[in-house]
Each structure stands twice: as structure tokens, then as C-alpha cells.
């Protein structure tokens, strides 16, 4: 290296270090450090905006360098259950979206309350750094005119697994029996000791004054599922989840609060455990007897329901002088978006095939479909309880749809013409930002589409937006996109898994018809399995990696995620194939079918031998409910004509392919990024200081807990790989494929081989989305597909024992992709027939059609006309005009009333039988933003109440 170059590198490293140090001080804001040196990672409104107020994890240092000081894995959140009919959406789920703002020292305050079923909820969090505890005050106000009873579960996940260093267990309670009852004021959880090895410190939750105080905890629940009715478990994986439930009765306008503390000790050894536990237990006892209330307003203190007057007064407060708890200040909750769509076409659970058929038959248009998805995104994906599956929505989505409709009108056809697709935001898009799920790349605008994106665009698909992902698609447990961590579509308190969590949730919640995701380890399989979707990690080179930001070059795979196997085939018909710019794809066109749908044969499994390796059907967490359900689903392989063949070490073989000797060298991460950088001069042109993989991994714009210490980044980037090294790496992947083929060719006790090998999907229930700390959010089972460059198709198989969707997987030989897709289709046929295939999420129900907001007046009895008069004002709140004449339909009109000025009776637009009126003055339609009023006249001889529901339809509909 020439001296000049050395100098340049040195200057760059120094500058980088200085920049990183400066940036760190500005951006590291979710940690609060206590006297024990514990870094409390609080899930506030800062990226990734989990915003539950719970503790993600506690560490011995910041960022990704600190060991974990306890086994906490998402603790301190609240689940709230309102006894209301109908039950509000997300009733009983983990509350979030408080806009929790850090004061820069030790407090987090709510900036926007959460509204659930008429209850306004806010919380404040305070970390007492000197005393090593955190305090939560959760406040609830009944905003309705009737009394409400609510149940609040405080708690979360205190460890992970059934045993070992990450597991936890209840070891003591205030009554000394380690059984949680209403007679306890605190509960202690600890980690198994390991001699002189430091393990996680003890955790004590102070739950309030014990019985006979009437405000005491009412139920100790299993924090993992059915918390309000399922009792606390004391062992196994579920023993790591606690929900301490209080029941509050709120009068109209009434306010009550719950106060909890969490006392933590430092990491312990066998020698230090007893004294540390004694210390934290004493602290907990002190807080239970004399709660620390500093910083609360008198009204807040007076609102506390779970500590008795004696203990509160002993804290130096004159409880008898309490002011009205209704004076507790709670920021207003944002108005919820009305669950309405301006599209007459319902896209809920529609497959690509159904959408295409409806467009081809003229039932609908791409514009109506796209509008429907956009409206669902606005209602379900954004706001306090939004799934956050999209990071960015295409501003020209409707224009793309209009172009697709025009193309169809001109005679164009195609599997994805006019179909809205979500794109994981590590694919380049020339018209949308590409961020890799990180603020590191915020605002980056590639000049060109990724190969697969370009194929979609050419096919006339509507590129609906960029799906959220795990930052850099790294670890596979949480899709912690900084613009909003993705939440599970089926169990909305749980993780969506990663890194393609946004893509999966977008499809599962019917926010897009299908999606592009990607996988290095589990990022297609995991999120798809959590969302009852189909996906394919294809043979290396089946789909192009051009224009996809890398994680582990040559192992990364960009693939499709869909609702059904036939939808997957439609996607593959467009995105699979040889890309001249990606040498790995060179053989693709020789191996793929002319039409992937041609392999969709319900007989595809007949006579097939499906390998089964018993050891892979074991959950590392020790649970069996999920794998039992997945094992039961194997019956549909058999029903479709396949034979299950035991293989692996149980019959003298191996459980994985024998890896060929690997003498290759070179850093694929660095090479992947350098190739990406070489192909994207616009990165530098747009001001991004990204010149190597180190610049990416050491960015101080990363989420605080993934951020590397700048001092660890003072290393020169790894050298580029030589062409010989690259060729060797590619050859090694081919050798692995060959080894896998040999393994499968000789599998089974008879060594007759197998056609494919079946694997379970997820092995356990998924954990809550507020956890982390490098711990798994689910029992994971990767097939050897990614490691060996061979295909795995993943497809739904119903539910597990707790109502969580499950998938199973089939692994095949290199370029067996089409065969695997066919087998999945056959399985799907039999499983769906039994109701055990793809299942639908219920958390994002159909939206009510309405381009409008309607306002009703009261009723006035007009003695001149002997009718009741009522005025209805209709405003077009959509961005599209409503075709005239606008029709107002009255459904379920009470029998005592007749609409005397009706235009007719609804005969076609179900529900039928009700009157409708053609709104005067709307013959030419109703422009966006315009409003019109119509007077209704009702005959009502008995003077009884007049009730009905309304629909507004465009004149293009025959009512």
C-alpha cells in the first residue's frame, strides 16, 4: 500500500471515530443506567417505536456490546381487558402507542393516551437509578356514561426456555411460599445459578398491598396466552411469563391508577446470590410498605388503587386530603380512523387468482383493488395499534393501478397485471426510498430497480410500497424497523418474527396481495410461518439478488411470500429466472418451468417418499403443543399419497448433509457490500458515507441497542475477494448442493432415498414483541436449505394448540423447486379441505364501504306533514369523486317507521329490503371534499324510536 493510501485510510478512520462518538452521544437515549451499572432498555417512542413502556432487556453495557444483567425479555408492559360489548379491537392485548418521551434523565411520560373501549389509558415510567428499581404508574379513565370494569395484567417475560442460563423461575414471594396469591405484595424471579459463572440477577415485582386490602391483585395469570383466565405457570418455558392482574371498576368519568415497581439485582454467582436476593427482597418489602411516590401529583397519588391508605400515608402523604382522581392529567388519545373504505371491492383474504379473475371478468379494476388495500393500510397499519408492516407507501400507487387498467383495456394480460405487491425495503426501487430497515440509509433513492422489482413493474404489478423489516435483516427474531417495529397479524401482542416481518404481515392482514421478502437464515420461513403464508427459499440462483442490499452474500435469497401455493406460482412466473447481472442465476432459465402453474397438481405427492428426521421436531424451549400440531398435519401428506420415511441418525444416516471440505477464503459480507456500493454510485452522490461493510455495521444511526461501540469499529475493512476466491465460494455452494443430493438419495433405513424431507415450521408459541436482547422470540427450525443452497418450500398447516398459525416445510434437491411447489400444492389441497391449511387473521376485519362521512340530525315531528323529519349530511371524504346520483340506503329500518320520501326499495345490494333515496342535487356526483344534505321523512304512527343503519353508494351501483 502506498503511503498516501495509508494516510487516507487513517484520516478516514479517525474522522469516522470522531463522528461516531459524537453521534452516539446524541442518539443513545433509550437506556437508563442505575447504580449497579445496569442499562435498563426502555421501549419508548424512539426507534423502533415499540412504545409499550416495558423493559426490552437489561444489559451490563450499551448497544450490542453489553452482557445481559438479567434474563428480562420484555417486562413491564400492560395488557388491558375492557368488559364492554362489543369488545373493542385489541381488547386484552399489550397496550402501546403512548408516545413515551424520555426526559433525558430517568423518566418517560405519555404524550398521547391510548383509548380502548371507552377507557383512556396512560402510563409513566421512572427509573430510580440510585435504588436500582423502576416504577410504573398506569392510569385509566372511563370516558363513557356507564360504569366499566377492566382487568389489567402487568408483567411480561422474565426469561426464556424451560431450563438453562436464560430461563427464570419464581423463587420467592412476600409470604415466603413462592406461590403467587392476592396475599402477596411482591414476587421474586431468578435465574438458575451456575457456580462461579455470573448469571442474570434477581427480579422482584412489587404488585401492591396484599389481601385483605380490597384493591389487591385479583389473579395471577400465565403471561404467554389467555392471561386473564389461564393461571400462572411455575415451570417450563411458560413459567417465564407472568401477568399480575388487577380488576378495576370505573364509574362514568372515574379515574383509577395502578402502581408497580420492579427491583433488580446485579448479576450473581452461587456465592453472591443469597445476599443479593436478600437486598432486593428488602427493597421490595420497603416499597410495598411505603411506596415511593416522589414526582406524582396529589391527584395521581389519590388515584392509586392497588396500595392501601396506610402504606400511601406512610410515605408522607396525607391521603385524607386527596383531590378528585379525575384531575389526573392524561394527554388526549388520537382519534381512531374510521374503519371505512372508499372501494366497493373487498380484498380481504383474496388470492391473486381471485383478484385477477375479477379484473378479467370486469367485476372490479386494479384501481378499486389498490384503493381497497390503501384504505386498509390507513386503518390497520398506521397509528397507535398499527401493524407497521409498511415503511413507505407508494405515492403513485393509484396511478400505477390506472395504468394497469388501461393496459388491460388495451388487451394486455398477465399473472400480476394490476396486482398490488409489497416490496421488502432492502430491494432497490427507483421511485421509492430503500433503507434496509435502518436510519443509516434514510432517504436513499437508488437510480434503478432491483431485478425482481423491475420484473414486477414490467408485468404491470402495482408496487404498493416498501415493507418494514428487521434492521439490516440481521437476526430473525423481531422486525425492528426504526419507523415502527412490525406486530404480528394473528396475535397482535407478539412478534411478527424477522426479517421479512413486514412483508408477511402485509399479506396476512390483507394489506397487499403478495410480497417480496428475503432470507439469509430464517427470514422467509419464520415470518411466513407466523402468518400462515406460503414461501419458497429457492435453489441458489433461482431468483436474482441484483439490487438487494446484502447481509451474507451468496447465502442471501430474495423470494416471494403469498397467501396460497398458486399465488406463489404466479409470483415465480414473474420474478424467477436468469439475470445477466447475477452470475448465480445463470442456470435458472434451464431449470424453471415455462409456467409454474403447470406443476400445481393435487397428485404431485402420490408415490413420493417424504423423509422425516425425529430430532428436528423438538422445541428448544421444551414445549410440545406446536410440534404436536405440526406432526398431526403430516396426515395430509399421507392423504395426498406420500409415504413418510424415517431418516437421519435414527436409521443410521445423518441429520444434515455431510459438508464437503471447505478451504475457501474471503469475507462475503464485505464483498457483498462492496459489490453493492460499486453498482450504486448514487450512494456517495447522495451523501451517504458508506464505503465498506464496516461503515454499514458501525453506523451510529442504528437502533440504540444494535449500535456498535465506535471503539470496536477502528478496524480496516476486510479486503475485497479475488475472482479466484469468489469462484471458489460459488464452487463450494455447488459442492454443498451435491452433498445434499447424496444425502437425500441414500436416506432411510432402506437407503432408497427420499423425494423431499419434511420439517416443522415454528416449534413453539411466539413471544411478545417488546422483548429482545439477542434471545429467540420463538422455537426456530431452519432447514439445511440456506446453508446448502437448496430449496425449501414453506406452507400453512392450520393452528397449534394455542390458536397460533403453523406452517411445515419441505426440503428438496437443487433445482427441485417446481417439484416442491407441486407437492405443497397437493398438501394445501388436502389440508384446506380439512380446514387445516391457510388460516385467516381476524385482527383486520373487512372495512365498511363508504367514501363518505355521514352526520344525522335528530328527529323533528312535523305536524303539517304528520311525519318525522331528519336531515342526513353526506360528505365525500375520499380522494375520489362519487358517481352520481348518490344513493342513501337505510338498512334494518325499525318496523314502526316507513321512509315516505324514498326512491325505492333495495333489491340487489345486500342487505336488501330497506328503502333508499336518490340524494337530490347529486346527479353529477359528489366531488372530493364536497357535502350534500338530504331531508328524510318517516311515517311513524306509534311514535316509537326510529332506528336504522346507513350506506352510501355511488350511482353506478344498482341498489
Amino acid at each position: 500500500m502506498v503511503p498516501f493510501a495509508r494516510t487516507q485510510i487513517g484520516i478516514r478512520l479517525l474522522a469516522t471515530f470522531l463522528c461516531l462518538s459524537l453521534a452516539r452521544s446524541v442518539l443513545a437515549f433509550t437506556y437508563v443506567v442505575d447504580a449497579n451499572g445496569t442499562y435498563w432498555g426502555v421501549q419508548d417512542a424512539a426507534p423502533p417505536r415499540v412504545d409499550t413502556g416495558s423493559i426490552r432487556a437489561t444489559q451490563a453495557g450499551a448497544g450490542n456490546n453489553g452482557a445481559f444483567s438479567t434474563t428480562l425479555n420484555g417486562f413491564g408492559g400492560i395488557m388491558v381487558l375492557v368488559d364492554a360489548t362489543p369488545a373493542p379491537r385489541f381488547n386484552g392485548e399489550l397496550m402501546r402507542g403512548f408516545g413515551l418521551r424520555f426526559d433525558g434523565v430517568d423518566r418517560f411520560t405519555t404524550t398521547q393516551s391510548v383509548s380502548l373501549g371507552g377507557v383512556t389509558i396512560s402510563r409513566s415510567v421512572y427509573v430510580n437509578r440510585g435504588a436500582n428499581w423502576t416504577r410504573w404508574l398506569d392510569t385509566f379513565t372511563n370516558t363513557t356514561n356507564a360504569p366499566l370494569t377492566i382487568k389489567v395484567a402487568f408483567g411480561g417475560q422474565s426469561g426464556m426456555g424451560a431450563s438453562g442460563g436464560n430461563s427464570s423461575a419464581i423463587v420467592n414471594t412476600s409470604s415466603g411460599d413462592a406461590l403467587v396469591t392476592s396475599g402477596d405484595s411482591w414476587v421474586e424471579v431468578a435465574t438458575p445459578l451456575s457456580g462461579n459463572t455470573l448469571v442474570g440477577g434477581p427480579q422482584v415485582t412489587v404488585i401492591g398491598s396484599p389481601a385483605p386490602f380490597t384493591g389487591t391483585m385479583t389473579f395471577a395469570g400465565n403471561g404467554l396466552y389467555n392471561t386473564f383466565s389461564n393461571p400462572l405457570t411455575y415451570s417450563g418455558h411458560e413459567g417465564n411469563f407472568q401477568g399480575y392482574v388487577n380488576t378495576l371498576t370505573l364509574p362514568p368519568g372515574g379515574t383509577r391508577s395502578l402502581l408497580h415497581y420492579l427491583v433488580l439485582g446485579p448479576r450473581v454467582t452461587s456465592a453472591t446470590s443469597a445476599s443479593v436476593r436478600a437486598t432486593v427482597e428488602a427493597a421490595a418489602s420497603g416499597l410495598a410498605a411505603m411506596p415511593q411516590l416522589a414526582g406524582f401529583t396529589p391527584a395521581e397519588i389519590c388515584s392509586i388503587a392497588n396500595f392501601d391508605l396506610t402504606s400511601i400515608s406512610s410515605s408522607g402523604v396525607d391521603y385524607t386530603a386527596c383531590t378528585d382522581p379525575g384531575d389526573v392529567v392524561q394527554p388526549p388519545a388520537p382519534a381512531a380512523r374510521a374503519p371505512k373504505t372508499s372501494s366497493i371491492y373487498d380484498v380481504l383474504e383474496k388470492t391473486i387468482g381471485q383478484l385477477r379473475a375479477d379484473m378479467e371478468s370486469g367485476v372490479t379494476t386494479s384501481q378499486a383493488i389498490t384503493r381497497a388495500y390503501l384504505d386498509r393500510i390507513a386503518v390497520y397499519d398506521q397509528g397507535q395499534f398499527g401493524f407497521n408492516s409498511f415503511e413507505y407507501i407508494a405515492t403513485d400507487a393509484m396511478a400505477q393501478a390506472e395504468a394497469a387498467d388501461a393496459a388491460r383495456a388495451a388487451g394486455a394480460k398477465g399473472p400480476l397485471l394490476g396486482i398490488p405487491i409489497a416490496i421488502k425495503n432492502l430491494y432497490d426501487t427507483k421511485d421509492m426510498p430503500t433503507t434496509n430497515g435502518s436510519l443509516t440509509f434514510e432517504g436513499f433513492r437508488p437510480l434503478h430497480d432491483a431485478f425482481q422489482v423491475a420484473r414486477l413493474r414490467e408485468a404491470g404489478a402495482v408496487l404498493l410500497g416498501k415493507a418494514a423489516l428487521e434492521e439490516y435483516a440481521t437476526s430473525g427474531n423481531y422486525s425492528n424497523d426504526p419507523w415502527g417495529q412490525v406486530w404480528n397479524a394473528f396475535n397482535p401482542s407478539k412478534s411478527a418474527i424477522a426479517s421479512s416481518g413486514g412483508s408477511a404481515v402485509a399479506v396476512a392482514a390483507s394489506l397487499a396481495a403478495a410480497a417480496l421478502g428475503s432470507q439469509t437464515g430464517d427470514s422467509l420461513y419464520g415470518p411466513a410461518s407466523a402468518a400462515s403464508l406460503v414461501t419458497l427459499r429457492g435453489t441458489d440462483g433461482l431468483e436474482s439478488g441484483s439490487g438487494i442490499m446484502p447481509l451474507s452474500w451468496l447465502t442471501d435469497f430474495g423470494g416471494a411470500m403469498a397467501r396460497s401455493v398458486s399465488d406463489l406460482a404466479d409470483m415465480l412466473n414473474v420474478v424467477a429466472g436468469t439475470d445477466p447481472d447475477d452470475p448465480t442465476t445463470a442456470p435458472a432459465d434451464e431449470h424453471i418451468p415455462a409456467d409454474w402453474r403447470s406443476g400445481l397438481d393435487i397428485h404431485a405427492l402420490e408415490g413420493k417418499r417424504i423423509g422425516y428426521i425425529p430430532s428436528v421436531w423438538v422445541d428448544p424451549f421444551g414445549t410440545t403443543g406446536t410440534t404436536d400440531a405440526e406432526n398431526a398435519a403430516l396426515q395430509y401428506l399421507v392423504a395426498a399419497g406420500a409415504t413418510i420415511v424415517e431418516m437421519g441418525s435414527t436409521v443410521g444416516g445423518t441429520n444434515t448433509p455431510t459438508a464437503p471440505p471447505d478451504n475457501t477464503t474471503g469475507n462475503t459480507t464485505q464483498e457483498g457490500w462492496m459489490q453493492y456500493i460499486d453498482h450504486h454510485p448514487e450512494l456517495a452522490a447522495q451523501g451517504f458515507q458508506i464505503f465498506s461493510a464496516v461503515d454499514v455495521s458501525c453506523s451510529q444511526k442504528k437502533i440504540a441497542y444494535t449500535r456498535a461501540d465506535p471503539s470496536a469499529c477502528l478496524v480496516a475493512p476486510a479486503p475485497r475477494m479475488t475472482q479466484a476466491e469468489i469462484d471458489a465460494k460459488r464452487a463450494q455452494r455447488v459442492l454443498r448442493q451435491a452433498a445434499a443430493k447424496t444425502w437425500m438419495d441414500t436416506a432411510g433405513a432402506d437407503h432408497q432415498g427420499v423425494d423431499a424431507i419434511v420439517y416443522p415450521g415454528l416449534l413453539s408459541d411466539i413471544s411478545f414483541n417488546d422483548g429482545g436482547g439477542g434471545r429467540a422470540s420463538f422455537g426456530r427450525r431452519d432447514t439445511p436449505g440456506a446453508t446448502n443452497g437448496i430449496p425449501t418450500v414453506v406452507f400453512p398447516a392450520g393452528y397449534n394448540d394455542h390458536g397460533q398459525p403453523i406452517d411445515i416445510q419441505l426440503l428438496g434437491r437443487a433445482w427441485d423447486d417446481a417439484k416442491l411447489v407441486g407437492m405443497a400444492y397437493a398438501f394445501e389441497y388436502y389440508a384446506n379441505a380439512a380446514g387445516q391449511g391457510h388460516v385467516a387473521a381476524s385482527t383486520a376485519p373487512v372495512l365498511t364501504y363508504g367514501q363518505t362521512e355521514t352526520i344525522r340530525s335528530g328527529f323533528v315531528r312535523d305536524r303539517r306533514t304528520s311525519t318525522y323529519a331528519q336531515e342526513v349530511t353526506i360528505q365525500n371524504t375520499s380522494p375520489d369523486p362519487i358517481a352520481g346520483p348518490v344513493l342513501l340506503l337505510l338498512d334494518n329500518l325499525s318496523a314502526n317507521a316507513t321512509l315516505t320520501n324514498r326512491t325505492g326499495i333495495v333489491a340487489n345490494a345486500a342487505p336488501t329490503g330497506g328503502p333508499y333515496i336518490s340524494v337530490p342535487g347529486t346527479a353529477v356526483g359528489l366531488a372530493p371534499g364536497a357535502s350534500v344534505s338530504v331531508a328524510l321523512q318517516f311515517s311513524n304512527p306509534t311514535n316509537a324510536a326510529i332506528t336504522y343503519s346507513m350506506r352510501v353508494l355511488p350511482g353506478t351501483i344498482v341498489p
Binding site: 363513557t144 356514561n145 364509574p251 362514568p252 368519568g253 352526520i855 344525522r856 340530525s857 335528530g858 328527529f859 323533528v860 315531528r861 312535523d862 305536524r863 303539517r864 311525519t867 318525522y868 323529519a869 331528519q870 336531515e871 331531508a935 311514535n943 316509537a944 324510536a945 326510529i946 332506528t947
Partner: protein, 248 residues
């Protein structure tokens, strides 16, 4: 003076009976030019007050000033309506969807009265309406919904004067020109709430329960047939005297 006292009692009752969550009441004064009604062949006229909906809401109307005119005959009430033009009126829609009270009057140059109402919000808003009826018990035509002269839709718990809709009459032809019958809503001074509550308590203690007007409309029709309008007293022996309702 007596009417004022009774109105205060009614208002106090209104506050006492208001739903516990009702944070506020709406109070305003209505003024109507009634000169066009003087000597109008469509008379005698009646004032008509309605409160319709699921409730619970209560409207107290009192402080009538007839501008030289006066109440006439008996009030006819339906649903949760009580009172009369002399003593004041209370409309409560807790028990009935349709609540109405009307009573004839001799118009003067103007009419004014005060209104105090609760503002409990329901999905389909309760509506308070004031209209004028002609000799056929037909509402005189106006620019308002259902021929109302004053309309309040209870769409918010924090209604203000701006939410009070006022209208004007229309020319119905045949000598029935009401186009100069114009309603206005004006603010009233903020009441001394505690005083009103105390007065309401007194009123409540002094209250004497009276039979409900179950046959009110039938009596009205009998009275019409007997052509008794224009006299101060209804001919029907069953019709209560207006003074009987004052203590409500």
C-alpha cells in the same frame, strides 16, 4: 314573579336530574317576532316544543314573555313533557322517544323565553325543536327541518350558542304569510348554578305529583270539537287547569 320562581325550580330540577356524566348544560334565550301572527286568519296559534330521541336529556323552558300577548287554554303533553306556558315546561326523553308539549297563546308583538338543556350525546342525537302550530295543529311552514323555528341537535356534550339553529317562516299563501316570523337565539347570563340547584331542591321538596296526561291528545280533540279555543278555560271537565301544573 311566581312564574320566575317556578322556572328556577324547574331549572334546578333539570340540573338535579341530569345524567351524572353530563359535564355541562346549554342555556340560551329565544326571541321570535310574532307580529305577523296578530289577527292572522290561521290562528289561534300554539307554541310547540319537542325533545325526541333516546336520551337521557332534559330541557327546561321558562321565562315566557309574550310581548303583550298571553298563554291560552291548556297545555297538551306527550311522552316526558310536563308544565305549561305560564309555569314553565320540562321535557325529559328518558322514557319516551317522542316528547312534546303544545299550548295555545295570544300573540303579541314578540315572544321570548329561555331554554336550559342537558347535553348527553347519543349515536343518533336527541333533538330539541320549537315550532308554532296553526289552528289546524299544523306546523307553520319554515325554512327549518320539520318546520322548526329553533332546532338543537345534541351532537356534543359541549354545545354552545352556535349550535342553536334558528329559522324563519315561509309564505304559505292564502293570507298565511309567515315570512316575517323570525327566530333568534341569544345568550343568557351564566346562571348561579348553586343557587339554581338549591332552588331546585326546594322545588323538588315542594313538588306535588300529578297524574300523567295519558289522554292528552284525545282531550285536545274534544276541546277542538267544542270550539272552546279563544277562551281561557277548556270546556272539558277532565282537562287540568293550568295552575295545577305549576309546582312541577
Amino acid at each position: 314573579m311566581r312564574a320566575t320562581f317556578v322556572t328556577a325550580c324547574l331549572t334546578g330540577l333539570l340540573i338535579l336530574t341530569a345524567h351524572s356524566s353530563a359535564a355541562s348544560t346549554l342555556e340560551f334565550k329565544v326571541v321570535v317576532n310574532t307580529t305577523p301572527l296578530i289577527g292572522n286568519p290561521a290562528g289561534p296559534f300554539a307554541l310547540d316544543f319537542q325533545l325526541n330521541g333516546a336520551g337521557p336529556n332534559t330541557v327546561a323552558i321558562g321565562g315566557f314573555d309574550f310581548g303583550g300577548g298571553r298563554p291560552l287554554g291548556t297545555a297538551f303533553a306527550f311522552g316526558g313533557a310536563t308544565g305549561n306556558l305560564a309555569a314553565g315546561i320540562v321535557l325529559n326523553d328518558t322514557s319516551a322517544f317522542f316528547t312534546e308539549l303544545f299550548q295555545q297563546f295570544i300573540p303579541g308583538t314578540s315572544l321570548s323565553f329561555s331554554v336550559s338543556m342537558t347535553t348527553n350525546v347519543t349515536p343518533t342525537p336527541d333533538a330539541f325543536a320549537f315550532s308554532i302550530l296553526d289552528d289546524n295543529l299544523f306546523t307553520i311552514p319554515t325554512t327549518g327541518l320539520g318546520d322548526a323555528l329553533v332546532l338543537v341537535n345534541i351532537t356534543s356534550s359541549a354545545l354552545t350558542l352556535s349550535n342553536v339553529q334558528t329559522f324563519r317562516g315561509l309564505n304559505a299563501g292564502a293570507g298565511r304569510n309567515y315570512s316575517n316570523v323570525i327566530a333568534q337565539a341569544l345568550p343568557v347570563p351564566e346562571p348561579a348554578t348553586l343557587v339554581l340547584v338549591a332552588t331546585g331542591v326546594i322545588g323538588a321538596v315542594a313538588r306535588r305529583r300529578r297524574p300523567f296526561f295519558l289522554q292528552a291528545e284525545r282531550r285536545w280533540m274534544r276541546a277542538r270539537r267544542s270550539r272552546s279555543f279563544g277562551s281561557d278555560s277548556p270546556s272539558s271537565a277532565n282537562a287540568p287547569r293550568s295552575g295545577d301544573q305549576e309546582s312541577l
